[in-house]
């Protein structure tokens, strides 16, 4: 009751401050606050300034919005099947979702990370993490498609991921859930403290191809790793991870993991770790994890099971890992654009601790330790602290930065964003969010060169903000103008799934490189039909392969006979169009998977297992021309022993299929 009253008054206040003055445009003093709609307005046909890559949370997708309009451009399927695009249903994309557990059609994507060179966005790739079945994905920013997924062994859940180093040397993956490992996995849960361990993985990324591989893992105490950030500039070579549950509780964590006054931010010297790997300090571990790669030439993914990782144990590798005490279950641990400051955010704290990289180095040199935690040195809190932001709000979660030395921290409990100065830690401004903000995004905020201008808050609760839609309400983001001293709310826009972290990048860094078509000449799909002349139907035992073409507005072939019960029909459909934005679709009655959505010059395959005798329609699902509704055909299914020859045609009489090749 009290909460909703507060909310209502907040709404009224907001209406008053933002919308009311707009009714009096002649009042000069109100002009700045009356222009909210104008600031987020992008006229029809005009482009936005930024692409916003937003985690789709439990939808398993990554979504792409325009900023400042808040318009949704694309939902990129990453860890979840997407029948709209055939992702995870076509024969070509199924291997993308393969894991050591077999085919996993869903996951929970929390954090996008955009690749950088020298700490600045380079527009090549976006990475995303799977929080449930630990994986890291890479998305090609030319095609906006998921092109690689690597599973993380020795991990219980991959939350502390996929944060990247300055030149995208590494993408990290830290376990949220510690688990028992190796040959010691069937243990009592209450033996957590002795048997459960955490790991952080460093995945290297090839500079040219972007191809990933797990370079090494570090074996760590059984805490929960939450978020992470690489050092940059002067702190390049280091990585910082927040961790909670230093109590190492295995039940009722709500109470049991919040006993200690301080948990940790972990500092990893990854350059040192590289040296240890080189000098053979790592131990090879037998594991099994999937590595799935999509080939843009064959339009097909392959899944390979990898068998080995290199594990570094800090016990054998001195000076590689340190802990720094951080108040109250830290979530964010964010490095500022200079790399000097590391901002911790204790979810249950009422201060924001800011650590200094220079002081961390000095404390390490002076061995200014406060004992150790499970054998890993703990640096003295006061020795590494730059200072604390006092009374900023309740429940700091995550901090982003602008280019002018300001930090923006989200406060979940007090539903607000607080702007403060890194230099003297003074609070400059605060603004409410509606409601319970999680992560923030300032374009370029995690890089050495924040693009600034906007701040976007991703909220957990939207009661009273949108039209009701049953028990579940819209997920939501809020856009603030931060070009002035004061933050100004200028737009609410709904999002897909639960938005966690997001990044934003100037539109011109991506739009100019966007792939428009797949060149048909370069199509190396094994079942491509380059032109209608190559369209055909072939039988291989009980497999019937249809090499089909589509162009506005017909399929070749569109009449197929001679399929029998017990056959599996593979429709390999090649879209012969070579013009941007002319996809064709393909659907056949009774299919147990989904449709195909085939881009110009692409080939995709739908497997169809007819379950009854009859004649079945098939059609194009993507409205392609004035005669789109005519883009259809039939396939006939006869009894298993029937004597119907395999034939196919479009327009003319059926031609006999070539002899069965067995």
């Amino acid at each position: 009751m009290i909460k909703s009253k507060l909310m209502m008054s907040a709404i009224v206040l907001l209406m008053a401050s933002i919308y009311l003055p707009s009714c009096k445009p002649k009042n000069v003093s109100s002009a700045t606050s009356g222009d909210a709609a104008i600031k987020s307005f992008v006229a029809p046909g005009k482009y936005d300034e930024f692409y916003n890559f937003v985690s789709g949370g439990f939808s398993g997708q990554m979504t792409v919005y325009g900023i400042p309009s808040g318009r949704l451009f694309r939902a990129i399927p990453v860890f979840s099947v997407d029948p709209e695009k055939g992702y995870g249903y076509t024969e070509e994309t199924k291997p993308m979702l393969n894991t050591s557990h077999g085919f996993v059609p869903w996951d929970d994507l929390h954090h996008p990370a955009l690749s950088t060179t020298d700490g600045i966005h380079d527009g090549k790739w976006a990475f995303g993490n799977a929080n449930n079945t630990p994986r890291v994905a890479r998305i090609d920013l030319k095609t906006f498609r998921t092109v690689e997924i690597i599973e993380i062994p020795n991990s219980g859940g991959n939350h502390s991921s996929p944060f990247i180093t300055e030149n995208t040397e590494y993408v990290v993956a830290g376990t949220r859930f510690s688990v028992p490992m190796d040959n010691n996995r069937d243990v009592a849960i209450d033996t957590y403290k002795e048997n459960f361990r955490g790991t952080v993985s460093f995945i290297n990324v090839d500079k040219e191809s972007g191809r990933m591989g797990i370079a090494f893992q570090i074996l760590l105490p059984g805490v929960n790793f939450d978020l992470a950030r690489a050092g940059k500039g002067k702190s390049h070579g280091w990585f910082f991870f927040s961790c909670y549950n230093s109590e190492r509780a295995n039940t009722l964590l709500e109470v049991n993991s919040t006993q200690k006054d301080k948990d940790f931010v972990m500092a990893v010297n990854w350059k040192k770790a590289e040296e240890y790997v080189k000098s053979g300090k790592g131990v090879k571990k037998d594991v099994s994890y999937a590595h799935n790669v999509y080939d843009e030439k064959t339009h097909s993914a392959t899944s390979t099971m990898e068998k080995e990782v290199i594990m570094l144990d800090p016990k054998d590798c001195p000076d590689m890992v340190y802990f720094m005490p951080c108040p109250k279950s830290p979530h964010g641990c964010d490095t500022d654009p200079t790399g000097e400051y590391i901002v911790g955010s204790g979810k249950l704290a009422a201060i924001i601790p800011v650590f200094s990289f220079t002081k961390i180095q000095a404390a390490i040199a002076a061995k200014n330790f406060d004992g150790d935690y499970e054998g890993i040195p703990v640096l003295k809190y006061d020795a590494v602290l730059h200072g604390e932001v006092k009374k900023p709000g309740l429940g700091p979660l995550h901090t982003e930065f602008d280019a002018d030395g300001n930090a923006y921290t989200s406060f979940f409990v007090s539903s607000e964003v607080v702007k403060w100065k890194l230099s003297d830690l003074s609070v400059v401004d605060r603004v409410p969010t509606y409601y319970s903000v999680g992560h923030l995004c300032v374009p370029g905020g995690p890089t050495k060169k924040p693009w600034g201008k906007y701040m976007i808050a991703y909220n957990k609760i939207t009661k009273d903000r949108y039209l009701p839609t049953g028990p579940e309400l819209a997920q939501s983001a809020q856009l603030y103008d931060i070009s002035g001293e004061k933050m100004k709310l200028i737009l609410d826009f709904p999002t897909i799934g639960e938005p966690h972290y997001a990044e934003a990048i100037p539109a011109e860094l991506l739009s100019k490189n966007s792939t428009k078509i797949y060149r048909i000449e370069e199509n190396a799909h094994p079942y491509v039909a380059k032109g209608e002349k190559e369209a055909k139907v072939e039988r291989k035992g009980n497999e019937v392969h249809v090499y089909m073409t589509s162009i506005r507005s017909h399929f070749v072939p569109d009449n197929i006979e001679g399929v029998k019960m017990g056959d599996v029909v593979y429709f390999h459909v090649t879209n012969l169009e070579q013009d941007w934005d002319v996809p064709h679709g393909f659907a056949v009655k009774g299919a147990n998977n989904a449709e195909l959505l085939i881009m110009p010059g692409e080939t995709q395959t739908l497997a169809w297992r007819p379950d009854r005798i009859g004649v079945f329609p098939m059609y194009c699902t993507d409205f392609c021309s004035a005669l789109h509704q005519e883009m259809q055909g039939y396939i006939r299914v006869s009894p298993a022993g029937a004597n119907i020859p395999l034939t196919f045609s479009t327009g003319k009489k059926a031609a006999p299929a070539p002899e069965a090749a067995k």
Binding site: L20, A37, F41, E521, K533, D579, S625, G651
Partner: protein, 168 residues
């Protein structure tokens, strides 16, 4: 909070939103429109017809003068056939039968090389502005797709059309 009060607040905010809707017609937004940068094309003016229906029309595009030899360039025509099979055959027969688009028989008598090559490399502008292309769209009702032919592809395809029309 009672439902009634809530409703009142909602109504009040509705009125306020209406306020902004009216305000939004005034100049600031229009200025924003004019200033906006990084844009897609928003050409709205009716396209002017710049080509005639004459048999000598050259169409609209980069090809203004194509040199043709009296005899066939066999090599070029062979490449043209390869391009035809992949990118054109779905819609155009080699005889006079209309499929999606017209059959190609005698096209080299009906159209200039420049017109054919401009149309095959620049179909969208031609379909919007060229009188012949527009007339054909009215008959066929399917816009010829841009099949991303290179200039050389377009020339080779034209040579293949010549071969199809009996040039030796």
């Amino acid at each position: 909070m009672s439902r009634k009060i809530k409703n009142k607040i909602t109504k009040a905010s509705l009125l306020i939103v209406l306020g902004i809707a009216i305000y939004s017609c005034s100049t600031p937004i229009r200025q924003k429109n004019e200033e906006a940068s990084g844009t897609a094309s928003t050409e709205n003016a009716a396209p002017a017809e710049v080509s005639t229906e004459s048999k000598d029309a050259k169409g609209i595009g980069k090809f203004t003068k194509v040199e043709l030899s009296p005899t066939l360039d066999v090599k070029m025509a062979t490449i043209g056939k390869e391009v035809y099979d992949v990118k054109c055959a779905s819609c155009h027969r080699l005889n006079d039968e209309k499929l999606v688009g017209p059959g190609w028989k005698d096209v080299t008598q009906r159209r200039t090389a420049e017109w054919v090559m401009n149309f095959s490399t620049n179909p969208d502008e031609m379909l919007d502005k060229d009188a012949i292309a527009k007339g054909m769209l009215e008959e066929c009702l399917v816009r010829m797709p841009n099949q991303s032919l290179t200039d050389d592809d377009a020339r080779s395809v034209y040579e293949y059309m010549r071969e199809n029309d009996g040039v030796k």
